[in-house]
């Protein structure tokens, strides 16, 4: 099972969200991400297929986005949640 800091990865809400109003489907993020987070589909061209493959706290794909179409959750909230889960697991 994949974990981040001892917490199961699927319990951590950290992955990019695509703003389809801004995305121009240039596929820079798809080409950049080595973790297979994005995939191309026939219907909507680009989707976040594997959210839990995304490296927690990594926002590197958003830096490649010329349209500013990728956003991430607020870090402090995610950190608090990870801490709470850690306490539960102890």
């Amino acid at each position: 099972m994949e974990t981040f800091m001892g917490v199961p990865r699927d319990k951590i809400d950290w992955c990019p969200t695509i703003d389809y109003k801004k995305c121009n489907f240039c596929m820079e993020c798809y080409d950049f991400c080595p973790h297979d987070v994005f995939t191309k589909t026939d219907e909507i061209k680009l989707i976040v297929k594997n959210p839990h493959h995304c490296v927690v706290f990594c926002r590197a794909c958003s830096k490649t986005c010329n349209e500013d179409a990728l956003s991430f959750p607020e870090k402090p909230e995610v950190i608090e949640k990870i801490k709470a889960i850690r306490k539960e697991l102890e």
């Binding site: 981040f4 800091m5 950049f32 080595p34 490296v55 927690v56 706290f57 990594c58 926002r59 590197a60 830096k63 490649t64 986005c65 010329n66 349209e67 500013d68 870090k75 402090p76 950190i79 990870i82 801490k83 850690r86």
Partner: protein, 280 residues
């Protein structure tokens, strides 16, 4: 010797148009020369870096065409990215590439950030804390070798950053895995001195032609110093990211709590071993 500005040509995106307008305004205010991006990319010999005392690069969007064209050919003194400045300072975005209605006010609100003086920092280690020579464990994987310092009071994150604790101060940096993944590091974007940050927040970033890597802080605290030498020598991070390629120093606020989320050399070795094996 004169100053020069190289900017986005501003024909594709609204933020690019703003980059061009800011550049024109600055060149007027500071009597600097504008380097034509298209001319320079076609005829690099038209401009010589020895002719300029400083070259400021202004990009519009993260494609950073101006930076990419100038890198290695003109010595870049300072870089700005309009899309990031607008976001960071919560400023209004330009309406469209055609509409000029809000452009002047956006340019005016951006100008102070270009005039702001840089954080002044002595280019030496005031602590007398010289780059420490560490003893390393070596993780071998295919043709790669990753150094991991074997050092008491040194800890790591699963985001491939490290901290070395000296009383209530932590020196932080990135690991060998980061520098090898990025390959040649071209820029160090410095963190703000005095900024209070929480663990896992960003402490500056480093950039290669492949990607931008936000340096994830292993600890909570206040940024008290950064490695100013890296501004001129970002390649030091490639040479040794633990010794002369350290990133910043932080005044710690609650290391006991931070420690819960940190791993030691042995644990990081195992973590990295698994990580590189997955990427095959």
């Amino acid at each position: 010797m004169k100053k020069a500005i190289l900017c986005c040509n501003g024909l594709d995106k609204p933020v690019g148009k703003i980059a061009r307008k800011v550049a024109l305004k600055l060149s007027q205010l500071e009597s600097s020369e504008i380097i034509c991006l298209v001319l320079f990319s076609q005829f690099p010999n038209r401009y010589h870096k020895e002719d300029y005392e400083a070259v400021v690069v202004i990009d519009g969007c993260p494609a950073k065409c101006a930076t990419k064209i100038a890198t290695n050919q003109l010595g870049i003194s300072k870089r700005f990215l309009i899309s990031e400045l607008l976001k960071e300072h919560k400023l209004q975005h330009p309406l469209s590439i055609q509409s000029e209605e809000t452009d002047d006010s956006i340019v005016e609100s951006l100008l102070p950030f270009f005039e702001k003086e840089e954080h002044k920092q002595e280019r030496k280690n005031e602590t007398g804390w010289d780059a420490k020579a560490f003893i390393y464990q070596i993780l071998k994987h295919d043709k790669y070798q990753f150094r991991i310092p074997e050092q008491k009071d040194m800890f790591f994150t699963e985001n491939d950053t490290w901290c070395f604790i000296n009383n209530d101060i932590a020196r932080i940096g990135v690991t060998d895995y980061v520098q090898q993944s990025l390959s040649d590091i071209l820029f160090f974007n410095t963190p703000e001195i005095g900024k209070k940050i929480v663990q896992f927040d960003e402490v500056g970033s480093i950039e290669s032609s492949k990607a931008v890597f936000e340096v994830i802080s292993p600890v909570s605290g206040t940024v008290i110093r950064y490695n100013a030498e890296l501004v001129d020598h970002p390649e030091w991070i490639n040479e040794n990211p633990y010794e002369k390629g350290w990133i910043a120093e932080m005044q710690l606020t609650n290391f006991e709590e931070d420690r819960m989320f940190l791993i030691n050399t042995e644990e990081y070795y195992k973590f990295l071993q698994k990580k590189v094996a997955q990427h095959e």
